[in-house]
Structure formats: C-alpha cells, structure tokens
C-alpha cells in the first residue's frame, strides 16, 4: 500500500434502516480505504449490507454519520442535484439485472449518460462505438435488449457504465444472473478495464470463482470487513 490518498475513503460511516418501530444498524463507524486502480470483490452473507455499501459509495444513498470521500472529494454533504452531476462524471454502475431501457438499441442505451454532457452527436457516436468495441459488441449496435442474451446485455450495461469515462466502477453481482461462460466473459472484461484502463472496481459477488478475478477480497460480516489476500 502506498501513502498517497486513496480512491475511496470511508471514515466512521454509520448506516441504519428503520422498519416500522425497529431500527437496524448496518454499519457502525465503518472505515475503509480503497486505493486507485484496485479491483475489490466484496463478499458476505445476504443482508450483510453489500448493496448498501455500493449505494453509499455511489452517492445514491446517504450515510447517517461519518465521511465519504471519492477521489478526494467529500460527497456526504452534496445536495441531490450535485450528487447527480457528480455521479454522471465519476461513477459507473453495473447491476445484476443489466437494467437496460427496453425500447432503446444497444447504442442508444450506451449513449444515455452522454445526454448529460455537452458533447456533439458525432463525438457521442464515436464514444459509444469505442465503448461497445471494448466490450466486444461493435456489431450489435442496432440490437434491442430483448434481442440479446443475458451476457450480451450485461456487456452493453458495462459499455454504458464506462462511456463517460468514470474512474470508479461499482458492480452489484454483475454475474449473478449469468451462466459460467458468460460470467467469465464479463469478469474478463472487468479485469481488462482494471488492468488496461486503470479503472478502480468494487464488485459485490456471491460467487467465489468470480471473486477470484479481483485483486483483493473483502468479507463483509456483521458490519465489519475481514480482508483476505488472494493466493494467486
């Protein structure tokens, strides 16, 4: 580990949910630092707070206490609008169920985040093309989600996540709905994005084989991390 400031830093973060009269504490003064260029797999039992962690990192949910900084920028004090702008520029999300727009083609789905930029349509088109090439779908631009396999849809989702060139990718069980072969393809792409393009990746997974693609595995249990270095 170097001493330079990490890509992600959680300091004393607390998160609670209230269900009716009951309040459950997910994190209580949690600390975490993820250096830039890391590829982390987060594992842990269902309900341990893995998705909640990603939501906090991506600024789509708020902590009840503590500080969250991404690339040296504090995000815990940002307004909803500021968070939206910040997410558009800094975060790429990849979900278990792809979450593509059914009425849009692959290229249009990938273009969505670029609608938030000032790029001209020509420039947008070339970025979309590049992103789709990275995930190996340059020949599927006109296909709609329902005309593609799960693996292909997830590759489109990855292209959408990287098209505006964010530094941090947050993946919530990206292979949870895929067969082994498609899962390996997706994981290889993530590895490539991490290795070749230097993207910092935090990936939640249940699957030990998927976790092995990462550089480190964090086990989340009862609101605490237990780190295990990978035996390569």
């Amino acid at each position: 580990m170097t001493t330079e400031s990490p890509m992600v830093r959680l300091t004393g973060v607390s998160k609670r949910f209230t269900k009716g009269k009951e309040t459950i504490s997910i994190f209580d003064h949690l600390d975490l630092a993820i250096p830039g260029g890391d590829f982390i797999a987060v594992m842990g039992p269902s309900g341990s707070g893995k998705t909640t962690l990603l939501n906090l990192l991506g600024g789509i949910d708020r902590a009840d206490g503590g500080e969250i900084a991404v690339a040296d920028r504090r995000i815990d004090g940002l307004s909803e609008g500021e968070l939206a702008t910040w997410r558009a520029a800094n975060i790429g999300f990849i979900f278990q169920f792809y979450n593509l727009m059914p009425m849009l083609t692959a290229a249009q789905n990938v273009e969505l985040p670029l609608l938030l930029t000032r790029l001209r349509s020509k420039e947008r088109a070339s970025r979309v093309q590049t992103a789709l090439s990275v995930v190996g779908l340059a020949d599927r631009v006109k296909h709609r989600p329902r005309e593609m396999s799960g693996g292909q849809q997830q590759r489109v989702a990855i292209a959408r996540a990287i098209v505006s060139d964010p530094n941090l990718l947050l993946c919530d069980e990206p292979t949870g709905d895929l067969d082994r072969h498609s899962a390996d393809e997706i994981l290889s792409i993530l590895q490539l994005l991490n290795g070749e393009l230097g993207k910092t990746i935090v990936m939640v997974t249940h699957d030990p084989a998927a976790a092995n693609y990462a550089k480190r595995i964090l086990h989340l249990d009862k609101g605490r991390f237990v780190e295990r270095e990978l035996a390569a």
Binding site: I60, E111, L116, R160
Partner: protein
C-alpha cells in the same frame, strides 16, 4: 438521440396503449373544436351590434306580429333618428332544403338604419325602391346561386301564400349588397314589404319587428320606455331593447343548448383526464426501476420531471392537434350548409389557440403527479434490493 427522442420512445413503448389514448384525446378535441366554432357563430352577433340600434318586437315573443300602424307612431318618438321594419318570409329556392334567409323590408329606410354594415350602390338602391317586384340580394347569396342583376328569381315561402294561390313570388334582382367588413353575413334576400303585403293571403297590415336608431345611445332607455308605454294595454304590447340585448336573448336559446353541450364536453374531458392520468401514472410506475437507473446515471430529479411531463404533453398534442385539424375540416365542410343559421361558423385562430392551451393544460394535469413522484423517487427504493 436527445431527450425528445427519449420522451417519444417512452410514449410509444406500448403502441396500442398510446394509440388508444391518442384517439380518445383526438375525439375530445374534435368535439371541442366543432362546438367552440358553433358557440362563436352564435355569439358573434353580440359583438357587432351597434350601440345605438334598438329592436321593437311583440312582447309575447319575437315571432308574433305587430300592427304596421306602429311604424309611424314610433317614427314620431323623440330621440328616434330613424326607424325601419321587416317581416320574416321563411323563403326557399326551388326546394325547401334550399333555405333562403329572406325578409320583406321597408325599402327607403332599411339601409339607412344598417348603413354601417352594408353598402348598396345608390343607383341599385333607387332601382329597388322604384320597382315593387324587385329584390336586393347579399353578395354571398349572389355568389352561391350565380344570380346577377336583372335575373328573375322565384322565391317560395314555407309560411305565406299568394292571394292568387301558390307559394312563389317572382322577384327581379335590382342590386347586390356588400358587407362593410368580412364577418358581416351577406347571405340574404330583401324585397319590398308593400308588394308582399298586397299579395299575401293573410296577415295583412302586420309587420314582424321594427329596427330603430336612436339619436344617441344615451337615449336608448328613455326611447325604449316611451315606445313600450305607448303600446301598453293594447292588443299588441311591445318590447323594445337594444340590438345587443336582443341578440343575447336570441342566442340564449342556443345558450341553453350550449350549456348542455358544455356539460357533455366537460364530462368527456374529465373522463379522458382520468383515463389518461391513470394510464400515465400506471406506465410511469411500471418504469420505476428504469427511472432509478436514469438517476443512477446522473439524470437529475428536475430532468426526470421534464421527461415525464414532456411525455404527457406530447401525448395531449398528438391527440389534440389532429383533433382540432379534423374539427377545422368539419367546420369548412359544414360552413356552406350552415351559412344561414350560423354564418360565422369556423375554427378561428382564437379557438385554435385556446385548444392548444387546453392540450398543454391536459398534459400538465395528467402528467404532474407521476412526474413529481418520479422526480422524488429514491434511487435505492427504485432499484429494489438486488
């Protein structure tokens, strides 16, 4: 791709549903356009009524006759500048379907009272006054049948008959009357009362109504009171009112119909509002997850609000604009046949603008609740737990 493409694709993701909504909105605005056109036609008279013109009719109602002797007595009332009178003829040309707006009038005074509305070349007016069996026709009537000065036209009545038998009067066209402004209807035929009265088989020495012009609108009230007092307790009591008020009373008959129609249209609109509003709410709720994804990508709450409102407004316009266009076509098609009853029947620019405003309002009202919900939606909730 831009936000508008997104709005458009969202709207048409369920084609049948979108088309059904568009068609129902289309029908609502078609009805709106036609009825608004009618309403305008019936109320148009009010605006152009001259302030110093009054109408004296039988107090029972305006279809009951007045004795012709009243004419000279009204002439003598102080504050009256000019008086003329007319009698409804109930005319048609060749076939009762070809209704002819025709009146028997007092030829020397009629165009004096209506001088701000109509233009008659002086020589043609003189010819009309001179020839008892002649008629003046309005420009648009002349155009409709292709009649020219000198033509002999058989005008039949569905009320009156000749002493000599038959329902037809042969009249020679002495001149053509022009309106002084576009909206003035010239779809009429006027002929001499004296000739009419002499030849008809019943109703002799009675007239339909008198039109008088006061020396100034300030005298209207006094003149009306004097005239009506003069004939009080006679066999034919009178009611004198300004042309404006008379037009209103006349329009009020249609006004009741207009009210019913308004209620029907209102009910249709409210129904459509609820259907479209509910369908919008449903289709936005179906997309909760996608809205969460858009927000994750960095679409702001206000932008999402705009996308949803854009969709409901686009829907209203896609139904409403063709609806208004069809209404305009209907108005054009009916204009000729309704020229007698509702000469100003048309889809005016004002109605079109009101229609567009109504569409935008419809779009906003049906879209606002789902739009605000979508704007406020929490991403974590929208994405569920996965």
């Amino acid at each position: 791709m831009n936000d508008f493409d997104l709005v458009r694709k969202n709207l048409f993701r369920r084609k049948l549903r979108a088309v059904l909504m568009i068609v129902s909105i289309l029908i609502a605005f078609m009805i709106f356009g036609v009825l608004a056109g009618f309403y305008r036609a019936f109320t148009a008279g009010e605006d152009r009524a001259a302030a110093d013109r009054m109408i004296t009719v039988n107090k029972i109602n305006f279809t009951q006759p007045l004795p012709i002797a009243y004419y000279n007595r009204v002439r003598a009332v102080e504050g009256v500048r000019q008086v003329t009178f007319a009698n409804w003829f109930g005319g048609y040309y060749q076939d009762p379907k070809n209704f002819l707006m025709s009146l028997a009038v007092e030829p020397t005074t009629y165009f004096d009272v209506y001088r701000s509305e109509f233009d008659v070349p002086p020589d043609q007016l003189q010819a009309f006054i001179r020839d008892r069996g002649s008629a003046l026709i309005g420009e648009s009537l002349a155009r409709k049948w292709g009649w020219k000065i000198g033509d002999r036209v058989p005008v039949a009545s569905n009320i009156f008959s000749q002493k000599s038998g038959g329902h037809t009067w042969d009249l020679t066209i002495a001149g053509i009357v022009k309106g002084k402004a576009d909206h003035i209807d010239t779809n009429f035929l006027l002929f001499q009362y004296a000739y009419f009265d002499e030849t008809r088989s019943f109703g002799k020495d009675t007239i339909g109504w008198m039109i008088l012009q006061t020396t100034s609108p300030e005298n209207n009230d006094r003149v009306a009171k004097t005239i009506d007092a003069m004939f009080a307790n006679s066999t034919a009591e009178t009611s004198t009112d300004t042309e404006k008020a008379f037009g209103k009373a006349f329009a009020a008959q249609f006004g009741n119909i207009a009210l019913i129609v308004l209620l029907v249209v209102g009910a249709a609109f409210v129904t459509i509002l609820m259907i479209v509003g509910n369908t919008m709410a449903l289709s936005i709720r179906e997309r909760t997850r996608e809205i969460g994804v858009l927000k994750t990508l960095g679409f702001s709450g206000p932008r999402i609000l705009g996308l949803v409102l854009g969709e409901s407004i686009l829907l209203a316009l896609l139904g409403g604009l063709p609806g208004l266009a069809i209404a305009a076509l209907i108005a054009m098609a009916l204009r000729a046949s309704l020229a007698n009853v509702a000469p100003a029947f048309a889809l005016s620019p004002v109605i079109a603008l009101e229609g567009v405003a109504l569409m935008i309002a419809l779009g906003l009202i049906t879209g606002i609740i789902p739009a605000v919900n979508a704007m406020r939606l929490k991403i974590a909730t929208a994405l569920g737990r996965g």
